[in-house]
C-alpha cells in the first residue's frame, strides 16, 4: 500500500510536469531547477540520516530504546520524545527515517509522534533567528506553546492510531 502511494505520487508529479511544460516550457525548467536545488540542499542530510538509521539498527539495542522512549516510561517517554525533537536541527525529511527506526526498536508511538511534531514545530536551534525576526516574546511563547501542543498531539495520536 505505502509503496504504491510513492509510485502514484511519482506519476502525479510526472503529469504535473507534462501539464506545466505544455503551458510554459520555461516554468517547467524553473520547477525542475528548483527541485534539483532543494534536493541538493538536503542531500548531505539524507546521507547522514540513512547512515544513522543503519547505525541505530546495528548498535543501539532495542532494550535501550524501550527503556528511554518505551510505553513503560509513559509521560517521561513522551516528554523525552518531544524534547529530542525540539533540539534536533535538520529538515523534516530527516525525522521520518529516524522515527521509523525508533518505532521498530520498541519506542512508544505517542513519544515518536511528539518527536516528529516537535521536530517540525519547535525550533530550539533557530530560536535566536526567530527572536531576531519577530522579537523574543513571540519566539519564546510560540515555541513554548508548540512544545505543549506536540505532547498533546502525541497523546491524541496514541488514542487514534
Amino acid at each position: 500500500m505505502e509503496r504504491y502511494i510513492g509510485y502514484g505520487y511519482l506519476v502525479a508529479a510526472l503529469i504535473g510536469y507534462l501539464v506545466t511544460m505544455q503551458r510554459s516550457k520555461q516554468k517547467a525548467q524553473q520547477a525542475a531547477a528548483s527541485s534539483v536545488k532543494s534536493f541538493l540542499g538536503v542531500a548531505p542530510t539524507f546521507l547522514a540520516v540513512f547512515g544513522l538509521v543503519g547505525l541505530l539498527e546495528v548498535f543501539v539495542p532495542p532494550a535501550l530504546i524501550e527503556r528511554t522512549l518505551g510505553a513503560e516510561g509513559g509521560l517521561l517517554s513522551l516528554f523525552l520524545g518531544g524534547a529530542v525533537g525540539s533540539v534536533a536541527a535538520g529538515p523534516p525529511v530527516a525525522a521520518y527515517p529516524i522515527a521509523a527506526s525508533l518505532l521498530s526498536g520498541g519506542a512508544w508511538m505517542p513519544a515518536v509522534a511528539a518527536f516528529i511534531v516537535s521536530w517540525t514545530l519547535v525550533g530550539f536551534v533557530s530560536l535566536p533567528f526567530e527572536a531576531k525576526t519577530f522579537g523574543w516574546r513571540f519566539a519564546l511563547v510560540r515555541n513554548g506553546f508548540s512544545f505543549v501542543f506536540a505532547l498533546v498531539i502525541g497523546i491524541l495520536m496514541g488514542a487514534i492510531v
Binding site: G51, V58, F134, F138
Partner: protein, 177 residues
C-alpha cells in the same frame, strides 16, 4: 580550509555520522559495514518517493506565488483569513531562513499575529513531504499527524496573539489604526 569548516558547521549531522561510522569501523568493522548496508537498503527502498517528493516540490514552487499570498494575508483580518493562512501554511515548504522573513513581510503588510502564528504552525504539516512520511510511518500515522497539526494552527495562532497583546497595549494589527 575555511570552506571545509563552514561545510562541517552547516552539515553537522553528516559530520556526526561520519565520526560515528569511523569509530564503529575501528571498533567493529563487520557491524559497521552491516550498518552501512542497512542504511543503503532503507534509502533505496524510499528512493522513488524521494524523487517524487522533490520533483513535486519544484512544481509547488513555480505555481504558488508566495509573495502574492503574503500580500493577501496582510489585507484580511477575519477568521476566514486565518483559515486561508493555515491552508497556505500546510503546503509551505522551506527552511527557516526563507519562511521567517516571508512571514515578517506578511506581518509588515498588516497581518495579525494570529495569522503569523497559524502559518508557522501549519507549516509543520508539510503536505508535499507527506508521501515520504507515509513511506516510513504508514498512512494512518501520517494522516492523523497532519490533520491534528493542521487543526492546531488556528487555536495556537489565536493563543499566541492573545499573549502578544498582554500588557503591550499593542493592536492586533500593526500600522496606523
Amino acid at each position: 580550509m575555511r570552506r571545509v569548516l563552514e561545510f562541517a558547521k552547516s552539515e553537522s549531522l553528516l559530520v556526526l555520522t561520519v565520526v560515528l561510522f569511523a569509530t564503529a569501523f575501528v571498533l567493529a568493522p563487520g557491524r559497521a559495514v552491516q550498518a552501512a548496508r542497512i542504511g543503503a537498503g532503507v534509502f533505496l527502498g524510499v528512493l522513488p518517493i524521494i524523487v517524487a517528493v522533490f520533483a513535486a516540490l519544484g512544481l509547488f514552487n513555480v505555481w504558488i506565488d508566495k509573495k502574492a499570498v503574503a500580500r493577501r494575508l496582510g489585507e484580511g483580518s477575519g477568521i476566514g483569513t486565518i483559515v486561508i493562512a493555515s491552508l497556505f501554511g500546510t503546503i509551505l515548504v522551506g527552511p527557516v531562513y526563507v519562511v521567517f522573513p516571508l512571514l515578517k513581510a506578511v506581518r509588515e503588510h498588516g497581518a495579525r499575529w494570529a495569522i503569523v502564528g497559524a502559518v508557522l504552525t501549519a507549516w509543520a504539516v508539510k503536505i508535499p513531504m507527506v508521501p515520504l512520511e507515509i513511506g516510513f510511518l504508514g498512512l494512518r500515522f501520517s494522516l492523523s499527524r497532519s490533520i491534528l497539526v493542521a487543526v492546531s494552527a488556528i487555536p495556537l495562532g489565536l493563543l499566541l496573539e492573545y499573549v502578544m497583546r498582554i500588557r503591550t497595549g499593542e493592536a492586533s494589527r500593526p500600522g496606523p489604526d
